[in-house]
Symmetry: C2
Subunit: 206 residues, 2 copies
Amino acid sequence: MSIADRKDREKKELTELILKEARALFLEEGFEKTSIRRIADRIEYSPATIYLYFKDKNDLLLALHQESFTHLFEALSSVASVPDAFERLVALGKAYIEYGLKNPEEYELMFMLSAPLEALECRHELWCDGQKAIDLVKMMVDDCKAHGYFRKDLDPDTTAIMLWAQVHGLVSLYLKQRFKMFQDQDQKKLIDKTFGLFIKTLQCFR
Amino acid sequence: MSIADRKDREKKELTELILKEARALFLEEGFEKTSIRRIADRIEYSPATIYLYFKDKNDLLLALHQESFTHLFEALSSVASVPDAFERLVALGKAYIEYGLKNPEEYELMFMLSAPLEALECRHELWCDGQKAIDLVKMMVDDCKAHGYFRKDLDPDTTAIMLWAQVHGLVSLYLKQRFKMFQDQDQKKLIDKTFGLFIKTLQCFR
DNA sequence: TTGACAAAATGAACACTGTTCATTATATTT
DNA sequence: AAATATAATGAACAGTGTTCATTTTGTCAA
């Protein structure tokens, strides 16, 4: 049936047009300004049409959130080329922080907003993008163990969460202006310095 | 002039009535449901009246935010009685986490929402509540140095930020449902375990 | 006590928001 | 060409923060 095929294709095309313009609006003007009506304006359809392609706004934001994760994993993929296991873990942390600072809106969508997780919740689905991310950290922790950087009895799950919480703490406090009180110092250097100290601290895992 | 005094008092009283009901609404139904109109309903004034007492919603949220800090400092004050310097730092971290988990809305207001900091920004004021909080951590880090738990060359500023970022990372990821993917385990125990590991890690500062 | 003035409170409006649904327009099938 | 299925929409609902002309209330001097 080529006509059903075309219908499927058209459905997919409009879905992606919505996402494309939603993404553009999201990156240009941020989460707050990304309204259904403004997306509708950009794609030249009525607001109601969007609801034929997405259950609600959370559902649309979940789709954007998933695209952002692909973007994040791209940004993190370069660290794979770092030969040393511990240096690789350090590079991962640095790349994560850099991604957060350079893509604030996407970072918020992935790790700070409730919307995408609410969409998953009502679909009875788990946050597998997050699982993939923490698995990446866990693997690198295991590598560090294998190469003698971390003790063998170290729990990789707990360690991965600790690493994640540290970098997320730094990025999210920065993004929400909580480092502006350190007015004299450069905020980004402060993050680097803190991350550096954290890395030093990790060396006692040996 | 007793009449000017009474006017001042009345101004203060209504300001505090607004804050009282705003706070109640905020705690009962959360940030999202705390609208100017609903506050107005509760205090039995028109929405426009609120704007005679607060510049805008951010300004009102800043006032709530400051009240929350008093509440936080109260919750943290008990750790002062812990005799050992390092144990005191650990107790501070635990108390901070516990406060965050038990008072999610207040925690978000203090450390995750933009609103209060935007209000400060347009007043050209600094986030002195935040400064007081980080100073508390810094003092305890200094205590640890003084009692031989941390090396003398450790930078207390960077260390304080690292400690803060760690606990904030844990609390904020939890509050934004990012730990729900670890479905089998108890999320709060996961936080405790991670914080425990972090504390162990700190012992290499000796 | 009354009139003039100042202060406080408000109703209504503006420009938005997400979402739903009966109606209309388009496309496909009989 | 008529009947049916699919797609798109206009209009409405209920809500948001905010502003401002208008009205109400309170104070003070004549």
